[in-house]
Amino acid sequence: MAFEVSSELEKKIDEVITHYPVSKRSAVLPLLHLIQHEFRYIQDEAVNWVAAKLGLEPIQVLEVVTFYPGFRQNAPGKYHIRVCRTLSCAMAGSYELMDALCAATKIDRSHADHHHPISVSADGKYSIEFAECLASCGFGPVCMVEDDFHEKVDVSKVGELLAKYPV
């Protein structure tokens, strides 16, 4: 997707910058969120654009982008899935959930590592990654599909879950 900031998006961006009257630099995270929301991931041009917008060096933005797993530098699938990996969910079966989701969406996770946490299905419809504690430990396993939160997703409910996200 070409990186071109619409006037509508720029209006939102300008508004959010006003939330930080003391230092524009504080707006790095919200700007990146707005951009990722629009473009699905943070492209190199976006990093430069944010830097220019806030009067920063591009590396100061890249430092932030690469720190947070919440920012993606590659395009995810149409529906991005995050499965909680941490203890309570793992005890409740989140690794099994991950396997079941990968099987159902035909995602090969064998190459996932620290630098490439996200795996995308061959058809680009789904992508998946493990996330650390999503803070619903009593109701695991939990996962997020896009911004939707799902609790107690045991393996038997995978089909039902994915049906909510038609490709």
Partner: protein, 543 residues
């Protein structure tokens, strides 16, 4: 606390702390034990032991010496068991993912990892895992290379580029153990102060492209001297093996250059080793070619060519790159010849908002003080004299007259053209007598920088071939044309200076010391130092 410990002779090992940069406290190498006397109950006098000291209540956790300040009655343990355990632990952690490629690492020999692991390390590895892989041999700018696997993430370079050089192009990407030092893709670390990052890198992560793989540091000898690239006179160390210079690095002087110097200055030594160096005195023969000869012959030829020229028929174009001692003989030469046409070639422009002075000559203030001439004020009349024929002889000392605006034809028409140079150039080509002099690295002497500070040069290497110390050449010219003699050492020359020029009164070469002395009042300030003072006033840096 680190500085206080240093003052009492206790070196607290550290990586991230640098006195001229903010303290992030990230390396944890400087952990020490700290404690204060317990506060006495109201109305009670504090307890004291037989030495009059109060007992210390030690804190259970170690604290970082870089970020804590000292207070009255505070106790600090720099060698306790807890302190040693902390250092051992940190050393082990720093080494587990380090490539340990010391045999091919330029930093070897001056690497803090090596140093402290000898002093504080465990001496064995318990690490059974695969190391983290990171980018190697990355060109992060025209003069600096990065090996990320060697990096210990102390962030000194990042802080330097952000806080001192105002060019924050370096940063950390990724996180945790995968944290990676990087420049932004498409950007580079190219500012004129980039090589300071190499100096302050405590390990071999940042290396100088120029120095890389050139010389093992333990084979080099270091000489304290000053940079002559501009009027700042940054204090530096010349690193040489034999008579070859391999690198120049800044030396701390808070009145001149703090701990830094510019890349231009530090890399400006390759000409010293250059093949264009003049190595023998030469005299022009009848057929117009230069012939190598002895010093005696050359000096005689010079004296003969000047014979019969009176007063302002001779002009001297000297250099503000000369030392005070050399300029002293320029003055003598002028007096002996009876000429008032003496000047130096000015060079201005190129100053920056950091260390570079606008004056590109290192000793303009020396020329003003000793020759009593404003640089460049007489050049026009000398040039006119050469063009009109009223000036019949010129002595060119360390300056290429063609570059200084003289017409080649006018120079060729002169009765006498005697020159002293370091490198072959167009003026040497038309000179009747060419005398090979010494570069800044090959001599002792002194200069006065733009802020009026008298500083010392020291000899790091020998001059090539039969080239000689420039002050001796000048002395010998003076004596060849009938002037006085009697000065045999540079110390004697300085003594004469001290006796005749008021600003040097009471000084000797050795009294100048390694850090120089202020001899002139000027209004010139050093932008970088001013900002450093501001940071200190704000408490951002300690020293």
């Amino acid at each position: 606390m680190i500085e206080a410990c240093r003052q009492v002779g206790k070196l607290v090992p550290h990586y991230c702390y640098h006195p001229k940069l903010t303290s992030p406290g990230n390396c944890r190498m400087c952990l020490v034990e700290m404690g204060m006397p317990p506060r006495p109950a109201p109305g009670q006098e504090p307890q004291k032991d037989e030495n009059g000291r109060q007992p210390i209540a030690w804190m259970p956790r170690a604290v970082i010496a870089c970020a804590n300040t000292v207070a009255d009655n505070m106790g600090i343990r720099t060698d306790s068991i807890l302190t040693q355990e902390c250092r051992k632990g940190v050393m082990e952690f720093l080494l587990i993912n380090h490539p340990l490629d010391c045999p091919i690492c330029d930093q070897a020999g001056e690497c803090r990892l090596q140093e402290f692991s000898v002093e504080h390390g465990k001496g064995e590895s318990r690490f059974r895992e695969n190391k983290v892989k990171k980018p190697k041999n990355v060109d992060i700018g025209p003069r600096v290379r990065l090996d990320d696997e060697r990096c210990i993430m102390c962030s000194r370079c990042i802080r330097f580029t952000a806080e001192v050089a105002d060019d924050p192009v370096l940063g950390f990407t990724e996180r945790g153990s995968h944290t990676t030092l990087a420049v932004h893709p498409g950007k580079e670390l190219a500012n004129n102060y980039s090589l300071n990052t190499v100096d302050i890198c405590p390990v071999g992560a940042l290396t100088s492209t120029d120095f890389r793989f050139q010389m093992r540091v333990w084979f080099m000898s270091e000489t304290n001297t000053i940079c002559t690239k501009c009027g700042r006179g940054c204090n530096m160390e010349v690193g040489a093996r034999g008579d070859t210079i391999y690198r120049q690095t800044p030396r701390d002087n808070d009145a001149v250059n703090s701990s830094w110097m510019c890349d231009q200055g530090r890399l400006d030594f390759h000409f010293v080793n250059s093949e264009f160096r003049l190595t023998d005195p030469m005299v022009k023969t009848a057929n117009g070619t230069h012939e190598v000869t002895t010093w005696k012959n050359a000096l005689g030829a010079a004296a003969r060519s000047l014979e019969g020229l009176k007063g302002d028929e001779v002009a001297i174009v000297a250099s503000a790159r000369f030392t005070n001692e050399e300029l002293f003989f320029v003055k003598r030469l002028a007096e002996t010849l009876g000429t008032t046409l003496v000047d130096v070639v000015p060079r201005t422009g190129g100053g920056d908002n950091y260390l570079r002075a606008d004056d590109q000559n290192p000793n303009s203030n020396g020329a003003r003080t000793i020759l009593g001439v404003e640089p460049g004020s007489k050049l026009a009349s000398i040039r006119a004299g050469v063009a009109s024929g009223s000036v019949k002889g010129v002595i060119a000392l360390g300056e290429n007259l063609i570059k200084a605006g003289f017409e080649k034809a006018g120079l060729e028409a002169l009765k006498a053209l005697v020159s002293v140079h370091i490198l072959a150039n167009a003026t040497a080509e038309v000179s009747g007598v060419v005398l090979p002099g010494s570069s800044y690295a090959e001599k002792r002497g002194s200069m006065i920088n733009v802020t009026g500070r008298l500083q010392r040069l020291n000899k790091a290497v020998k001059s090539p071939g039969n080239a000689r110390d420039t002050w001796e050449i000048l002395r010998d010219i003076v004596s060849a044309i009938g002037g006085g003699n009697g000065l045999h050492t540079i110390e004697d020359v300085f003594k004469q200076l001290a006796a005749t020029v008021p600003v040097f009164e009471g000084l000797t070469l050795s009294r100048i010391g390694d850090l120089g002395v202020q001899v002139l009042e000027t209004t010139e300030t050093v932008p970088l130092l001013e900002r450093e003072k501001e940071r200190k006033a704000k408490g951002l840096i300690v020293v």
